[in-house]
Symmetry: C2
Subunit: 260 residues, 2 copies
């Protein structure tokens, strides 16, 4: 234990924010009650206060409330009905278009926007940090959310429906609305599986999976009344062996990302 990590018995590790974060569950069933314009502004305002790389703020959010459009996106996301049923479906987009356009008047000669994997990562991370603040903000208002990576399954069609220009790509969607279900917490990996000290511990992180496999088998067994108990690592193996969304690299290059 390093001297910079002191032992402590203080009981100040319990507060309303930590409780909210500890209670996160994804919500896939929503009440009909709408989300107000003020709530939406508060949620996106909270998102905007997240950290951003050198203040580039390289993201945009499309708030989809049009029922026909929500239904289309629900289909494109792989028939996920809750995308149509939630009152507001947020599409979080990594966005370097605004930046490039805003910069144009200041650039002269051959100077222009330069594509790079680094810029792709900056925009993607900016978007995710903002979205997670939005998730926390929404939950603090009594709303529920679920991230929808499924919009990447038909990413070209989703982009076309939303009118996304070059240098903008939809990273994920997020259903927002009042929860009409109370799912139980899903256990996470043991802390030592993800937290390393001063050096990556490859043996320990893999060893910890055994304990988690047993935790998740118990969890599944309870949730399904004994019908399922596949260990986590076996479920993950199934995912790895059937790669999905192999169109992503071509799509991103087509949008001006990751060419170099």
């Amino acid at each position: 234990m390093s001297k910079n990590i002191r032992e402590s018995d203080d009981a100040s590790l319990d507060n309303a924010v930590l409780s909210l974060l500890a209670g996160h569950v994804s919500i896939r069933k929503f009440r009909q009650e709408p989300v107000s314009a003020e709530q939406l502004a508060a949620i996106i305002g909270a998102a905007q206060m997240a950290s951003t790389s050198s203040n580039v703020q390289a993201y945009s959010v499309i708030a989809v409330t049009d029922p026909a459009l929500k239904s289309e996106l629900a289909d494109l996301a792989g028939n996920q009905a809750y995308v149509a049923e939630c009152p507001v479906f947020l599409v979080w987009c990594a966005d370097l278009y605004r930046l490039r356009e805003a910069a144009k008047p200041h650039l002269s000669g051959a100077a222009t926007y330069e594509d790079s994997a680094e810029n792709f990562i900056i925009a993607t991370v900016d978007t995710a940090l903002a979205a997670q603040n939005a998730a926390v903000a929404a939950e603090s208002l009594g709303l529920g959310i679920v991230y929808i990576g499924g919009i990447r399954s038909k990413i070209a069609e989703v982009s076309e429906r939303l009118g996304l220009p070059e240098l903008v790509y939809p990273l994920f969607g997020m259903c927002v609305g009042y929860p009409d279900q109370t799912p139980g917490l899903r256990p996470r990996l043991p802390l030592p599986a993800v937290l390393h000290h001063n050096r990556y511990d490859a043996e320990e992180t893999v060893r910890q999976v055994q304990a988690y496999d047993s935790t998740m088998s118990d969890y599944l067994r309870k949730r399904t009344g004994g019908a399922k108990d596949t260990p986590w690592s076996a479920i993950m193996a199934g995912r790895l062996a059937e790669p999905i969304r192999l169109h992503m690299k071509d799509f991103l290059e087509g949008k001006g990302f990751m060419r170099r």
Copy 2:
């Protein structure tokens, strides 16, 4: 205004969580006071409760407290002294290694981990969502944080020092400690610059930059006693014209990411 976004005058948009999120500032000067092991566990525990794509939990965190190692990382991040000065420097890594190793016993024949841009995005997003929860949790405990993208400037060296295996890459660092400064809030883009309704509004998002340019010029002028007032879009143009970290694509491919 869609019927799914109702007008409302309810005053319930003020709570402790929203206030915390609204008050975020990056901290680059820390008191000597250490962070306790319990605080660190609470912060990473909160991170783990963030959403994760199909429960892959594709991230690891290296808590760096060793003074010599922190100093090295501070240098590698571009001589950022606060990396050495903060009591705990967290390195957030996108991690598909644990997943691949855990899956191995369940895969037979030619089945193996399949690289894809999609998997790269999943791991990167999982990492960022967890990290932002950690940032919020830390701030709820009275700690301050700053994200350090600078570790990507010498990403190969950082990876080597931390012993990161294939399929793991350091996405960003995060200084954590008790603040020894009280920076003012940095204004963000106007809400209509980032929030679109049902369709991306390319003209509006760029038009909104003009208002922000003037906001940021005022902000800079006040912060520097009149010495600086470069508009945001001009600063961004400078960034775009001098691309950084062009080694990222090769590095990621070398680590097993983004080959297809």
